[in-house]
Symmetry: D2
Subunit: 278 residues, 4 copies
């Protein structure tokens, strides 16, 4: 949090790492951590550098990338918490996990609001000092509801977390927040796409229950995977008990994904993610 973070990706060529690290060294700044990835299939290069902040270096970085318009970059200054909006429906476990981790200082974001299609969790949310908005949502009123949410989010959310939000957002909404919406899917994708994954898992007799955090794209449960994990179950687990185990693994997986996103560690590459610096 006290450091600057540079993220970049580009078509690979000799010397990029040298050029970028020289910008930092020339400004007298130390590198805290550097991680990078070279994809041999696409010849794309990805880099994340955490370094001691300096206006001189920040300026040099902006000048460098202005001179290399084919390269993508983001420069994140120290002590800037992203604003995070949480969307939730009736199940509150994933939302609570995020609220508690943010409150404990583990995830460097500000929860700017919780939006729900039910009014159920208003008290719970507000007692943690977080704004709560009830925005009814269903197929018939989707366009109006999404407009209402956009108005709430405007300038108030750098990214959105669907913490078991059980509504399907429109492609237009998703496009507006491209790779800025993180969803937790309650299965080990691509197994059990769609509705009722725990019932599907029960019927198939799997021995592990999984969860997947991914960026939302217009393809249902098809976006780039950020994190996955599993917990062990056995034949004695009822459907309801699979749901409980699933909640625990959902919480862990979503918290990892949000923490990485908040720390600018996740880069999207095609339909995959590159997670640097973990």
């Amino acid at each position: 949090m006290n450091n600057s973070v540079l993220i970049a990706h580009t078509k690979d060529r000799v010397g990029v790492t040298s050029e970028l690290t020289s910008l930092i060294a020339d400004g007298g700044c130390n590198i805290e951590h550097l991680d990078h990835f070279l994809d041999h299939e696409s010849y794309q290069f990805f880099i994340r550098i955490v370094f001691d902040p300096s206006n001189e270096v920040h300026d040099a970085i902006h000048r460098y990338f202005n001179a290399h318009p084919d390269m993508h970059y983001e420069l994140h200054l120290p002590n800037q918490r992203q604003k995070m909006a949480i969307f939730v429906s009736k199940m509150d476990h994933a939302m609570m996990e995020l609220i508690l981790r943010v409150r404990a200082g583990e995830i460097p974001v500000e929860i700017s609001m919780v939006i729900s299609n039910h009014d159920t969790h208003r008290d719970l949310v507000e007692q943690f000092g977080i704004r709560f908005h009830h925005v009814p949502f269903n197929k018939e009123i989707k366009a109006r509801a999404e407009q209402q949410m956009i108005d709430l989010l405007d300038g108030q959310a750098d990214f959105i977390v669907l913490a078991r939000y059980m509504q399907i957002l429109s492609p237009e909404f998703i496009e507006r927040y491209k790779f800025k919406i993180i969803n937790i899917h309650h299965s080990f994708l691509p197994a059990f796409i769609g509705a009722k994954p725990y019932a599907q898992a029960y019927d198939r007799g799997v021995k592990l229950i999984g969860a997947t955090a991914h960026y939302v794209t217009s393809e249902l449960d098809g976006g780039p995977i950020i994190q996955q994990d599993v917990l062990r179950v056995n034949h004695r687990y009822t459907k309801d008990e699979l749901v409980v185990v699933g909640r625990h693994v959902e919480n862990r997986v979503l918290a990892d994904a949000v923490m990485w996103h908040a720390n600018h560690k996740v880069l999207v590459h095609g339909n995959k993610t590159i997670v640097l610096g973990v």
Copy 2:
């Protein structure tokens, strides 16, 4: 191994556990372990009892089940190692894991033979004192090859392990060894059914690599799952490296499944398994 094992399943009714444990107690025998499962959807009851052996009790058990022909049971006497045949193609890792674990006394079976559609592993197998049979196999000669294998297996194999055997067996062959063929599939089923699961996993960008041991049925990769596990990977793993990680998880999962089967711990229930006593 020094104990007898009774496995039974039946439509649930009051008193079954009491009746079975009384048979053992009346013969003066101690129960080493008892595990059971009652499925509330089907009202089927499953039990596994490990007990001190006694001819008197064994006879009483046979008489009891003869008087209850609707109940299914198996009685396994002490110190009887099942004969296991291993089918293998070019990849030898899963076969070697089984050979070493049997040799170390971890899995109480006798490896009666290795059958392969290639002659590659003859020396490796024979140096461990295990018979090796090369049975060429492809679609054109499948019927003849399977007959040849049946002749080899006849009386010499209580069950078969497909340790990365890359051929599709006929429904007739599978039916002959119903729930006596264990396969290791190189993915977390039901994700990535069919061929090249590691390539599918690579393309989807998953963060965990899984493997699934299951009984073979005529539905491809669709039989009852015995065991599953995963190992963590990240964006830096190439397809070839996913294959290596996959080998390790395949080995563990298959070894668990074979060990449980060898110890009469796996009961099939519909398209699921009940694993008792673990």
Copy 3:
């Protein structure tokens, strides 16, 4: 929760399982689950039976054990939630994990009170409708503080959870609640006994961070272990980051232990636990 639970342990002899299951069958009741353990070193026998409730069977069980005074037993009737008191100091993560899991219906207890040596968490606790008592505690006032806590607990707590309670309770207090106090120790015991285990772990350069839930005895961090788990770390984790990872594993381990205790699954045997029915 809708079933009765019988727990018993005794010196092993032939027929105990048969006798107990017959009591239940004779009352026309079905067994939901039975798990047992025979320790071959001590010849002690442990059993846990979950069964459909019936006054007739309950009476028969009490009569049976009255006639066998050398056998230990507990009979737990359905729908009886134990009262749980949580002791906490400044760190609230483990307490919050328990509060949320109880609230979600995952752990069948009533949280009758939270006792803390600080007043910090009063609002947090009370907003979940739970009574909060501030009982200052240090070496000088230990006797008085413990008496105050005993007065609060009297009739109001079936067991106590030390959810990162950083005070050492007296042997007398511990004896009064023998095997009724669960502590979460922030290391993989017996590694890093005593104070500052994360600093010890950092200095030793371990690659896994663990936590241990155990019953409290008068030997520091030496009581019977109920559950343990670990999470992976690496050289980049600072001491503070080890503490964060540790919180997550503490939460999981303590929640397991409390859930098992609440469901009468944990039996103490010497300085170990037998966990039946998981």
Copy 4:
């Protein structure tokens, strides 16, 4: 394996990463992967760079470090397999795991010899085409035995793996192969130092069985930890069954450590390891 690997560590100063990556870029070479670590307590800096090989760059690197004699470095050229000697006693599982992984191409070393204080495994080792030396070893003949081993190892071993070698090597022998001897200890260190860790674990009633791979120093089981892992057990595991579970976790942990060492990924820092590029 087709790339060069540069490892360096030094007191931290601004510009090191820039300088080193510039050497590579100036030679027209691409960086395959770079990982580094800055220790904030000691202000030591560690870096590992994998890059396309070039004589020009190699020369430049040597010149650079000659001009910076206070910096430590190693330059490893492509396609150079280290020679690995395995020391083993009666238990062969860890040795076999290494032999099979090397044979499968997973660990880029040449197993130049196996040395054992027993002649038991001669046939097993030789059938894999590996030289086997029986060197009797006990306290009385330690000096002579170690001299015999040094003669065998001279020029024939870049590092040594103690794959459950149950003898204590002398401080002089250890110093000669400083941080070139990897041991697998059969517990989660620092728990259960010394002999019979599985018996200690059994007596303490732990719920996880661990293993630790570490560099050997003259302090028993006290050297820098390279890798650790655990597997879950429960009250039903006998001491012998803990040993079996332990074998599996030993195998995994030792294989990781050897693979990382073979790929020049492990740097020693005080009594800890920095593992880069994993």
